[in-house]
């Protein structure tokens, strides 16, 4: 398939870049004789490694971590203490540090992932600082790695400092390769989806929690290994240097400076900023103390104001001017929609059953004892005036809202009490009243996200998604960014996303809202064709005209209570329904 070629070309390109530039770097370093500059060349990849690790977590998940010093410090102390207390070589120490970092990541994430936004960011800040004081109190104010004169190699002690550069470099390359692999897999895509819209991701069957844990564990492992190597290179570890604010800040700074969410960004940031700071400090530090901090700070401020995305994306935008070409117009099937009458060969079979669902917000009942059944293969319309509880009903059915009471099940499989992603996996697809997209992803990626739980093979996932996009008639927009779509295209994309994993039932929330006449006809036909392929549809809609034409049965909600149910023609002439919509006077007139 062509799409395979598309993804693998930049992948091998990036691979060549990473390997090529690290060979060049190693070669350049080999020519450096000055010990101070050799140290500098070691520190740059170490901090780049921290930046890359930070980026794997915060860049992809969108959860800002101010606490990566915790992992850095854990790694540094693991290596240092293993060597001083037990005589274990850093060669093993570094590996153990990696596991310790991953473990701390899980331990820290376990309570902290419950928090969001600013709360998460600030909570992360507390961990390294608490550890700082604990390590001071334990009496590890200064741990010096002992010199091993007998067998320096076995203890990672080299007379030639350039070896450290190679070790740092190989760790960095490993991290970059892992990052590259992750970015092009469902790992990266799922995390990006969670970052851009967590609710939508959950409605697509993605459980955010394991992904976040995986990200923090990987990130923690690499950061801890960087910390461990830092200890080996500097031979001395103090709580302030490894757990201090500056360690966390350094990770943030090199990444944000270079470009967050990009693979090359943190590396670029570290290789510019770390040498700059160190050289300023060495050359001018005695005359102007703090000069490196001032220049560092100024550089960061300048980047934020001039290139807020970071240096790397800014450089790329200089390189290639984006060519804006008008996409070919979407061909909508604008012929007037005519319903094919719903018939089943057998007696209607119950697919979903909802019993006594009650939702209360404070003292207000949004839904009260709502019960109904959905039959296999039908299109059930749910109507009702504003505030009747229609969207709340959908939010309850797919797990976003926890009801006060009530049970619902599909094919005898209980759905109540389950998480949104779990309900999605059981075969309940969903679109939203206000379209929830992953705006900075392509249409295809948006839909691929939804197929992950149904298909474990990435390539087959892609095929499923492409098929769904074609089915709703959005084929020409396959590679457009979601943010660039029109209203009808967004609605169709969401429909494709709900459809892609082949659900048993689709919940469509005001999918026709804001569409023009022709667009409505197109969407109606898509919905009908979905039903014909065997998917049951439940649809909330205000446009009574369209609903009467589309649905097999209707359910009317008013003030959170089911007030009528049955054949569309009968329901719409029900005086109770007219009263709910138009008031008493009109229902009296209709009866007269």
């Amino acid at each position: 398939m062509t799409s395979t070629a598309k993804t693998s070309a930049p992948l091998s390109n990036a691979l060549a870049w990473i390997l090529g530039s690290s060979v060049l770097y190693a070669g350049a370093v080999w020519l450096v004789q000055d010990r101070y500059y050799q140290l500098l060349f070691t520190l740059a990849p170490i901090w780049a490694l921290v930046g890359v690790a930070w980026n794997i977590f915060s860049g992809y998940s969108g959860l800002m971590s101010f606490g990566h010093a915790a992992f850095f410090g854990v790694g540094a102390y693991t290596v240092a203490l293993l060597m001083t207390l037990f005589g274990i070589s850093p060669w093993f120490g570094l590996v153990i540090a990696g596991f310790a970092g991953a473990g701390s990541g899980v331990l820290i994430g376990w309570p902290t992932f419950r928090l969001r936004g600013h709360y998460f960011a600030l909570a992360m800040l507390a961990f390294p600082l608490a550890l700082l004081y604990v390590f001071e109190w334990l009496g590890f104010q200064e741990v010096t790695l002992p010199m091993m004169r007998e067998n320096p190699m076995a203890y990672m002690q080299f007379a030639d400092q350039r070896i450290y550069v190679l070790i740092a470099l190989s760790l960095l390359v490993t991290a970059l390769l892992v990052n590259l692999k992750l970015a092009h897999s469902r790992f990266g895509l799922s995390l990006l989806a969670i970052k851009q819209n967590e609710a939508a991701a959950m409605a697509c069957g993605i459980n955010p929690v394991p992904w976040k844990f995986a990200a923090i564990a990987i990130s923690g492992a690499f950061t801890a290994m960087a910390g461990g190597l830092y200890a080996v290179v500097l031979l001395i570890v103090t709580p302030h240097t490894v757990f201090g604010m500056l360690s966390s800040a350094q990770a943030l700074i090199v990444t944000l400076f270079g470009g967050i969410g990009t693979i090359a960004g943190p590396v670029l940031g570290a290789f510019v900023l770390i040498p700059l700071g160190e050289i300023l400090h060495a050359e001018l530090g005695h005359k102007f103390p703090g000069i490196q901090g001032v220049v560092f700070g100024a550089a960061i401020i300048l980047v934020v104001l001039r290139a807020p995305e970071g240096i790397w994306p800014w450089l790329q935008s200089l390189k290639k001017k984006p060519v804006t070409q008008d996409p070919e117009p979407l061909s909508l099937d604008v012929r007037s929609f005519v319903r094919s009458h719903f018939t089943t060969e057998h007696a209607p079979r119950q697919l979903m059953s909802v019993k006594d669902v009650t939702v209360r917000y404070g003292g207000l009942y949004a839904l009260r004892d709502v019960s109904f059944d959905v039959y296999e293969g039908e299109i059930l319309g749910i109507i009702g005036p504003n505030g009747a509880g229609k969207t709340t009903l959908f939010n309850t059915l797919n797990g976003f809202v926890t009801p006060l009471s009530g049970v619902w099940s599909m094919n005898d499989q209980t759905l109540s009490g389950r998480q949104p992603y779990d309900i999605c996996r059981a075969g309940v697809g969903r679109t939203f009243q206000v379209v929830r997209t992953f705006p900075r992803m392509t249409v295809l990626d948006n839909v691929i996200i939804a197929t992950f739980f149904a298909q474990s093979d990435d390539q087959l996932s892609r095929n499923m998604a492409t098929l769904a996009v074609d089915r709703v008639g959005l084929g020409p927009r396959l590679n457009s960014l979601a943010a660039s779509l029109t209203t009808v295209e967004l609605r169709l994309m969401e429909l494709a996303r709900a459809l892609a994993p082949q659900p048993k039932i689709l919940l469509l929330d005001e999918i026709l809202a804001g569409l023009g006449t022709n667009e409505t006809e197109h969407v109606l036909k898509v919905i009908e064709s979905i039903r014909q392929s065997g998917v049951t549809v439940v649809i909330i809609e205000h446009t009574m005209h369209a609903m009467v034409r589309l649905t097999d049965r209707m359910l009317v909600l008013n003030h959170g209570v089911v007030c009528a149910e049955g054949d569309p023609q009968v329901v719409t002439s029900n005086p109770l329904v007219i009263e709910a919509y138009l008031g008493k006077r009109w229902s009296a007139r209709a009866q007269a």
């Binding site: 600030l122 400076f257 103390p289 807020p308």
Partner: protein, 332 residues
């Protein structure tokens, strides 16, 4: 009290009255220090609640407040003019003016470009530029101060700093309490400033506009409020308030250019405890930190004082993410 703590105290303290004396003493010191922390937190909370920016440079406002107060006291002649008793406190208040002006300048030159309507509503991603910028600002200010003022710790100690009101001995118990005069006066000044700020925000016309801009920047614009001006005022005022707290701390605590980091954590913690965005909550949050810090010295070794703060912080965060004293203000 559990058996375990009984045993612990029994080892150190022969007499129950001494224990009570220690508790009272640390509660008193905690309250006094806590009031000053509270004021410090009010500054950060004001900025956060209006601009939705986590200001990393707030510690530097505190540090600049200390140096500004020192400058007023030692070099502007407030020392000679008002004497060593009133001089330091007036200097602390004046430092607020200095930092207010600086805050306006920083807003106009830098923050204006990356805050405002666009980011006020966004959660997460929209904040990267602001975080980076205030981080850069923090680096520049602290290292710039090092360039200008050097690394030698300074103090603005007054005769009050080393005198105490003595209470007791109380009857036959023999309990004695020492109330440090310098800190006590500083705490009263802090409470007065915090109350003034609170009145300004809740009662004044400008304060109401600021609250409106914080609550819903879009709607505020529609009713003719200049959101940018509100942000500028909030940033300058928030920086000035923390600076005043810095000036007050300088009367009893030696300081150097990197001192901001020591206190920024206390500020974050206090603001979180108070429920981010609640100004009065932030004061109570700061007060709580002061108490926890001082009372924890009764049971924990000195080095773990700050670790205790973080543990309390994490526990409260996990049990009540909306803060101890706040409703949930974080927008969803």
């Amino acid at each position: 009290m559990s058996d375990w703590t009984h045993q612990l105290f029994a080892m150190q303290l022969p007499d129950g009255w001494v224990l009570l004396e220690n508790i009272l003493q640390s509660v008193y010191t905690g309250t006094i220090v806590g009031c000053i922390y509270g004021l410090m937190c009010v500054g950060l909370a004001l900025i956060f609640s209006v601009m939705r920016v986590i200001n990393f440079a707030q510690g530097e406002s505190l540090m600049l407040g200390m140096y500004a107060a020192f400058f007023c006291f030692a070099h502007l002649g407030l020392n000679a003019l008002l004497g060593v008793y009133i001089g330091p406190f007036v200097s602390a208040l004046l430092s607020g003016v200095f930092v207010f002006v600086l805050g306006v300048a920083i807003y106009e030159l830098l923050l204006r470009h990356i805050t405002g309507m666009r980011v006020a509503k966004s959660e997460g991603e929209g904040h990267y530029p602001q975080l980076t910028l205030t981080l850069g600002l923090s680096l520049m200010l602290s290292n710039g101060a090092l360039l200008l003022f050097g690394s030698t710790p300074q103090t603005m100690r007054t005769p009050l700093s080393s005198t105490a009101w003595e209470i007791g001995p109380l009857g036959e118990t023999g309990m004695m309490l020492f109330l440090n005069q310098g800190r006590t006066v500083a705490a009263f000044v802090a409470v007065a400033v915090a109350m003034g700020v609170s009145l300004f925000i809740s009662r004044s016309r400008v304060g109401t506009m600021m609250r409106a801009a914080a609550d819903n920047p879009m709607a505020a614009t529609f009713v003719g409020i200049h959101v940018g001006k509100s942000h500028r005022l909030a940033f300058a005022l928030g920086s000035a308030i923390t600076a005043i707290a810095g000036g007050l701390i300088a009367t009893y605590y030696p300081f150097q250019p990197y001192i901001g980091v020591e206190f920024i954590i206390i500020m974050y913690t206090g603001v979180m405890l108070g429920g981010m965005g609640s100004v009065s909550g932030a004061f109570l949050g700061g007060l709580t930190i002061g108490l926890v810090q001082q009372v924890s010295t009764l049971v924990l070794p000195n080095q773990l004082q700050n670790a205790a703060i973080f543990v309390v912080f994490l526990v409260i965060l996990l049990v009540r993410p909306q803060g101890l004293f706040g409703r949930s203000v974080e927008r969803v």
